[in-house]
């Protein structure tokens, strides 16, 4: 009886709070003459977007298409970021386990420094470094033939065309805007420091006797690592790694601060132009919840596949 009363009270409080908020919201929307609903998505957006990877977009397109471009930009930077961060993180995690003292301490300093500085500071730093310290297009650095680094971004050749200096900037080839480059480097470097710790902990968690036993039955060092150490370590690594992937994706929303047109940044522009705050934020939240749940599901599936049977 008391159990029912407690639960009833909690539910009633939640419903009352929701009702209070919704009543207030509809009153203030009516007062401000904002029509609620998603009808505005079909209207003309009227703003340009600096970078679009898959979809063709112009200012005459709809808000829906603008948000789709934002989503594809978010996914693009997150996906590449996850790949780079995993590689860099695994490498640094392994370095932290090296017998070489210098290597070990360098890796440890990296982790210690990067982890203790807010990502937003790091993004501003990388963005400033690219736009302020790199030379202009005319004196662009050329680390590899055909690849140009300048304060206008990174230009690299594709299968069909090669970037060439034309007036004040490069044309041809493929380009990464400074915003994208800063965001990608920032996210990857930051998340790698967390992944390094996860990889290190995962490998340390494997019982040493497992590897010794593998070598005792005649496996080479490489075989023992590939067939025994890694599968065992991965089972410890995958769950926390998943939450790092989710964090990276959520952190990509900091793009708005350096002007990379991700989903949050475009939704923000949309909210400012249309006043549809509730719908705009609902879109952001729905998209991120979907991404979170999908990555969780994917990694759970992978985790189940590599789990002990």
């Amino acid at each position: 009886m008391r159990r029912l009363a407690y639960q009833g009270a909690a539910l009633a409080a939640a419903v009352a709070l929701a009702w209070f908020l919704i009543a207030n919201a509809s009153a203030s929307l009516a007062e401000r003459r904002i029509a609620s609903g998603f009808g505005f998505l079909g209207r003309e957006a009227g703003f340009e977007i600096g970078q679009s990877f898959f979809l063709h977009y112009g200012a005459a397109d709809s808000y829906l298409r603008a948000l789709a471009v934002g989503l594809s930009n978010t996914l693009m930077v997150s996906l590449i970021g996850i790949v780079v961060a995993t590689g860099l993180g695994a490498l640094i995690g392994l370095c932290r386990l090296s017998k070489n003292l210098l290597l070990k301490n360098l890796a440890a300093s990296y982790v210690e420094f990067i982890r203790n500085v807010p990502l937003l500071v790091q993004l501003f730093f990388w963005y400033a470094l690219i736009t302020e310290s790199l030379p202009g297009p005319r004196e662009a650095l050329q680390p590899l033939p055909g690849v140009f680094l300048s304060n206008r971004g990174v230009f690299f050749p594709t299968l069909t065309s090669v970037p060439a200096l034309d007036g004040f900037n490069f044309t041809g080839g493929a380009a990464l805007a400074p915003e994208f480059a800063a965001l990608l480097v920032g996210l990857a470097v930051y998340t790698a420091s967390f992944i390094a710790e996860i990889v290190r902990a995962g490998i340390l968690a494997v019982d040493r006797t497992q590897v010794e036993a593998a070598q005792a039955i005649g496996l080479t060092r490489a075989q023992a690592t590939r067939l025994v150490l890694l599968p065992l370590a991965l089972r410890v690594i995958v769950p926390p790694l998943t939450s790092q992937y989710l964090n990276l994706t959520k952190n990509s929303s900091l793009a708005v601060a350096i002007g990379y047109p991700d989903l949050v940044s475009i939704a923000n522009t949309t909210i400012n132009q249309t006043g549809q705050a509730i719908e705009g934020i609902a879109v952001i939240m729905a998209v991120y919840l979907t991404i979170s749940l999908s990555i969780s599901a994917l990694m759970n599936w992978y985790n189940a596949r590599i789990a002990l049977r």
Binding site: Q7, L21, S28, N100, L120, F124, A128, L129, K250, I284
Partner: protein, 332 residues
């Protein structure tokens, strides 16, 4: 042999990369607050920090009143420092905090004792970052304990509410919560009620931190052996006595290192209030870069920001590690 070779190669590689940085940060750097020399130099522009340190530390707080946020900052740091010492973990520490926070509010707002009133729109810099962190954690923590207990409750409706809240908040980026607080919250309040921007951001930070802290507390609760619950039941304690006197003290004690790590994360996350236009430490640094005379100082300025945040976070993380070793020893 290979190990030594690796050391030599690495050392050379490290020097080859570190020397240009040293050259930039020290040899070619300009230390005087002289914008012309800064633009001409090829190195860091530390003079920028010297020139703008007042703006960076105190934001737009009235210039002749800067001693007030400075004192408040020192007091707040002192309180945090005292709270880190196990000897002071006594009930009167809470009273000390309460007194300290009242005193800090009086200092910051003024309006009494002959201090001119300063509205909180003008607060900024380091003190704002510290206040957002302190009040965020102070209010989020009790909420987090309730959420964690709720999530482990055997009442399905309460559990569902808590799980729903925690997962919803943890599933979306902090920015979306801050946007929600800054553009959506005004719509949800009754007509005529307004909440200022600082309070709205603080509210979003509290709701955000509560969800993450709840998961840490839940971890602590899960670490309590079942026997403790059963023993409390056997003593005839009711739910509240059991939770308050037996379970929570132990659960919180074992989750302290994880809690400190969450505190560090939260301290870093307060920098996001820049995006909704509050003047925290990072934001004042960004604003001070708007001065066209000092164009080209951004790399130096953000490196400085990184160093300031690093000092705070690294101190906390060293502390958490020391605590972790202590907890491990004292629990046996």
């Amino acid at each position: 042999m290979i190990n030594r070779l690796l050391t030599v190669v690495l050392a050379l590689l490290f020097l080859w990369m570190a020397y240009p940085f040293f050259e930039w940060a020290v040899l070619h750097a300009v230390w005087r607050p002289d914008p012309v020399a800064c633009r001409a130099a090829k190195g860091a522009c530390w003079g920028f920090i010297a020139e703008k340190h007042r703006l960076i530390l105190f934001g737009t707080y009235p210039f002749e009143q800067h001693w007030r946020p400075a004192t408040a900052t020192a007091m707040l740091l002192g309180l945090w420092f005292l709270s880190g010492i196990r000897f002071f973990w006594k009930p009167w520490l809470a009273i000390l905090w309460l007194l300290g926070l009242v005193l800090i509010s009086v200092l910051m707002w003024g309006g009494v004792f002959g201090l001119p009133y300063v509205e909180n729109e003008r607060w900024g810099g380091l003190i704002l970052t510290l206040l957002l962190t302190t009040f965020g954690l102070a209010f989020a923590f009790p909420l987090a304990i309730l959420l964690a207990l709720g999530r482990r409750s055997d009442l399905p409706a309460i559990r569902a509410l808590c799980v729903g809240y925690i997962e919803l908040v943890r599933g979306v980026p902090l920015i979306s919560l801050l946007f929600m607080a800054s553009v959506m919250l005004p719509l949800f309040l009754p007509a005529g009620v307004t909440v200022d921007k600082l309070l709205r951001a603080q509210l979003a930070l509290i709701l955000f931190a509560a969800a993450y802290l709840a998961e840490v507390v839940r971890g602590g609760l899960q670490g309590i052996p079942k026997g403790q619950y059963e023993m409390a039941d056997a003593l005839g304690l009711n739910f509240f006595q059991k939770t308050l006197f037996i379970i929570l003290p132990q659960a919180l004690r074992i989750s302290v290192p994880a809690l400190v790590n969450t505190f560090i994360g939260f301290f870093k996350d307060t920098s996001l209030v820049l995006i909704i236009g509050l003047f925290d430490l990072l934001s004042t640094i960004k604003v001070s870069l708007n001065d066209p005379a000092w164009a080209g100082s951004a790399v130096t300025a953000y490196l400085f920001a990184a160093l300031v945040y690093f000092v705070f976070c690294f101190a906390m993380s060293l502390y958490s590690r020391r605590l972790e070793r202590r907890t491990v020893i004292s629990s046996f």
